[in-house]
């Protein structure tokens, strides 16, 4: 469940706990080690403690228990302004009474940098986000996307090694968000930054990160690279939170190392890969990605169990067909098939047999 903690990481959370009211723990035993140059995303539902973790790292909240290390030194007692961490806020927090250039110049001024050096750095940072022309605008005179770029430039202008971003793209529309994702990623690569990024957009987390920490209920549920997270979720929460997912409840019939057989509610038997199954006879939730479900026998691996399905609805989505079916008593089982030449068309009411590679059906805890 929790990552092993080493003191070697650039940023280390070591058994960190946080409570605001002394009654409930908002962050429960957080252990996390972030390598230098890594892009780590904290992903999780609202209220799962992501912002709290970020605030503790930035120094605006104190950890109730445990240590936070930055570059090997304990920063629990270090005030925020001495941490040298760049931060991008969700509402940008650009100072409204200063122009863009003054905003960017602020962190350099408080560091006592000379005027000419300051101006050069400010222009370089603005050019980096293609905002050089806006140096003398006020934040209120710019669009959300432009403000976002300025906020980014301001967090980077004093060359911090670590940058924190709390849902920086939350207020932007989809297209702009995707564009900015690309730019942030690009800056991360070219500047060699360490980034801790908070979002509750899973697409964003998957496309940008080196590793994703999925938060729920004050704990990291899984910490893994995006592909592993998507393809091999460790528990039902992660499986459901990331991507679309079919869930079939059942009982473990046979357990044999890498494979197991699960008897579903209606009596059918399916193949699955046990993930956090401990013993035979245990209740389980089998999770299968819709795009890994097949209905053509020739696509099935040899020996795989097939199961009856009734087509309820076929939705044409351009590149794919989304087929909703009744499987083992549940009516929201979804299959996605690519819209290729010669793809077999299914019709509501049709009965088919479906199946999948046992590796794609993961038998998880029943939540």
């Amino acid at each position: 469940m929790t990552a092993t903690t080493t003191d070697e990481g650039f940023v280390v959370f070591d058994h960190v706990q946080k409570s605001y009211d002394g009654e409930t723990l908002v962050v429960k035993d957080l252990n996390l080690s972030i390598a230098k140059g890594e892009f780590l995303t904290m992903l999780g539902p609202s209220g799962s403690g992501k912002t709290t973790c970020l605030m503790m790292l930035a120094g605006f909240e104190t950890a109730t228990n445990g240590r936070i290390l930055l570059d090997g030194t304990n920063i629990n007692e270090l005030p925020p302004h001495k941490r040298g961490i760049g931060m991008v806020f969700q509402n940008y927090a650009l100072f409204p009474h200063m122009t863009v250039a003054e905003n960017l110049s602020f962190p350099l001024e408080v560091r006592g940098m000379g005027k000419s050096e300051r101006e050069a750095k400010v222009m370089r940072a603005l050019d980096m986000v293609q905002m050089g022309k806006f140096a003398h605008r006020r934040p209120a005179q710019m669009s959300g996307g432009q403000q976002q770029r300025v906020a980014l430039a301001r967090a980077l202008v004093f060359d911090p090694a670590l940058v924190l971003m709390d849902e920086p793209l939350g207020a932007l529309d989809k297209q702009l968000r995707e564009h900015m994702q690309f730019e942030i990623k690009h800056l991360h690569d070219s500047l060699g930054l360490t980034v801790v990024y908070v979002t509750h957009d899973q697409g964003e987390a998957l496309t940008m990160s080196d590793r994703v920490a999925v938060f729920n209920d004050g704990r990291i549920q899984q910490l893994a690279p995006p592909d592993e997270l998507y393809e091999r979720p460790k528990n039902s929460f992660v499986a459901q939170f990331i991507g679309e997912n079919n869930k079939l409840p059942g009982i473990v019939e046979e357990l044999d190392g890498e494979k197991c057989l699960v008897r579903l509610a209606t009596g059918e038997i399916i193949d699955a890969t046990p993930v956090n199954i401990r013993h035979k006879g245990q209740e389980t939730l089998v999770s299968i990605r819709p795009e890994r479900v097949e209905f053509k026998p020739e696509m099935m691996p040899p020996g795989a169990h097939m199961i009856d399905a009734e087509v309820l609805e076929v939705i044409y989505m351009g590149d794919i067909f989304r087929t909703r079916m009744k499987v083992a008593g549940s009516t929201d089982f979804v299959m996605k098939s690519r819209n290729t030449i010669g793809q077999t068309k299914l019709h509501p009411g049709q009965h088919v047999k479906i199946g999948w590679h046992p590796a794609d059906a993961r038998a998880l805890d029943p939540m």
Binding site: G84, L94, F95
Partner: protein
């Protein structure tokens, strides 16, 4: 952009049925404008009747007073025929007698005398007495008048009558600035002992600025606390802030008396703490200090509320951003937080300053002799001396000072940046 293209294609833009667009727009807006006007008309009328007209009349009184001129037509004619500096000869006394006889008949001698009395005190009885005997007076009138009262030969009295024979006068503004005209009509300052108004105006200004500064100094942290505290606690604190509004004036005054007087609670406390000796008790009421303390108390909410409403809208992320960018908490406060509260500081400060400039009851109750403000004198002239014209002149000057400060504020901060709530 679309405008430009349409312009190029068709010239002035018209609606579908060929009317010019501007005209059509104006017609369609006219109804809405009429309705809006009708909605505000009652308020407008109310303000006009209850505020603008009385103030206009009041201000008019400061330069127009016909108390003497309307009852002394003969003298007015004589002054017209004889320019200032002419010798006061028998013809003048003839005119004086004619007017006095008329005054006696119309019972207006007192009114006319009052007007001259504003300029030279003690002259009201001169007129009432002379009016009584005017009918039986025998020429030569000059001697008759002088026999009645030597003052009738006083050039000052004649100068005052000349000046009052025209209803329009700047005399009250002169008086409001401790100036007067001498016998030759030159403007000179009144004697050392009589100069009160300029000093009082200055004191009012200084006290108001002091009170504004203290209010801002005290109000700023309280407003900040209010804006950052959890709702429940903030509401409780808010009640304390608003308490002075909810207590009656008498209760408040009594409380101040109990607290501030020499044998009062505050003095007892300081003596008990050893800050001052028993013989060094401080008089904190019935002097300027009393005015400052009491007015700060009553005006504090007017700074706190605008400040609070501005601070409430400043998200904590600004200061956090500043801190994360490397600013110490003091720098973040000074360079990021304070500038954003300026609209509130401006609004609160201006409000308190304007209110303080015109404050009247509190200084009257707890100010003692040297804690009085200009409004107290205006009230005195309105109610006691009944010299409304002087009161009006003083009030007009007060208004002018306030407007000047308003203008300065507008130039420095911009009135559009003000945020009252």
């Amino acid at each position: 952009m679309t405008d430009a293209t349409t312009d190029l294609a068709t010239g002035p833009i018209t609606t579908n049925d060929g009317r010019p667009l501007k005209e059509a727009l104006a017609a369609s807006l006219a109804v809405r404008r009429r309705r809006a006007f009708l909605l505000v008309a009652p308020l407008f009328l109310f303000i006009l009747i209850s505020f603008i007209i009385p103030i206009g009349q009041m201000l008019g009184k400061s330069i127009y007073n016909d108390g003497f001129s309307s009852h002394a037509p003969a003298l007015a004619a004589w002054f017209d025929a004889h320019p200032a500096g002419s010798a006061i000869d028998e013809s003048a006394y003839v005119a004086l007698r004619d007017d006095l006889v008329a005054m006696k008949k119309d019972k207006t001698a007192g009114e006319a005398g009052t007007r001259i009395n504003y300029d030279i005190s003690g002259t009201r009885s001169l007129f009432t007495a002379a009016a009584r005997g005017a009918e039986k007076m025998q020429p030569p009138y000059m001697d008759a008048f002088l026999k009645l009262d030597k003052k009738w030969g006083d050039p000052n009295v004649w100068r005052a009558m000349r000046s009052a024979s025209s209803p329009f006068t700047m005399d009250f503004y002169l008086a409001a600035n401790d100036l007067k005209r001498n016998e030759d009509g030159k403007i000179v300052s009144v004697g050392e002992g009589q100069a009160v108004y300029k000093k009082l105006m200055l004191r009012t200004l200084v006290l108001s600025l002091e009170i504004t500064a203290i209010c801002l100094l005290i109000g700023f942290p309280i407003a900040h606390l209010l804006a950052t505290l959890p709702m429940r606690k903030a509401m409780l604190l808010m009640i304390f802030v608003l308490l002075p509004f909810w207590t009656s004036l008498l209760v408040r005054t009594t409380a101040w008396m109990v607290l501030l007087q020499q044998q009062g609670v505050l003095n007892d406390l300081m003596v008990w703490l050893g800050i001052i000796g028993d013989d060094g008790r401080v008089q904190m009421i019935y002097n300027q200090m009393g005015t400052i303390i009491a007015m700060t108390h009553i005006l504090l909410p007017f700074t706190i509320l605008p400040l609070y409403s501005v601070m409430k809208t400043i998200p904590p992320s600004y200061v956090r951003a500043a801190r994360s960018l490397g600013a110490t908490s003091w720098t973040a406060f000074r360079r990021v937080y304070v500038p954003q509260t300026l609209p509130g500081v401006g609004a609160g400060g201006l409000l308190v300053f304007i209110l303080a400039m015109g404050y009247y009851i509190t200084p009257a109750l707890v100010g003692g002799a040297d804690g009085q403000m200009i409004s107290n004198l205006i009230a005195f002239h309105m109610q006691k001396s009944l010299n409304w014209s002087l009161a009006a002149a003083l009030a007009a000057q007060l208004l002018a000072v306030v407007l000047i400060f308003f203008w300065i504020y507008d130039r420095l901060v911009g009135i559009d940046k003000m945020k009252l709530g």
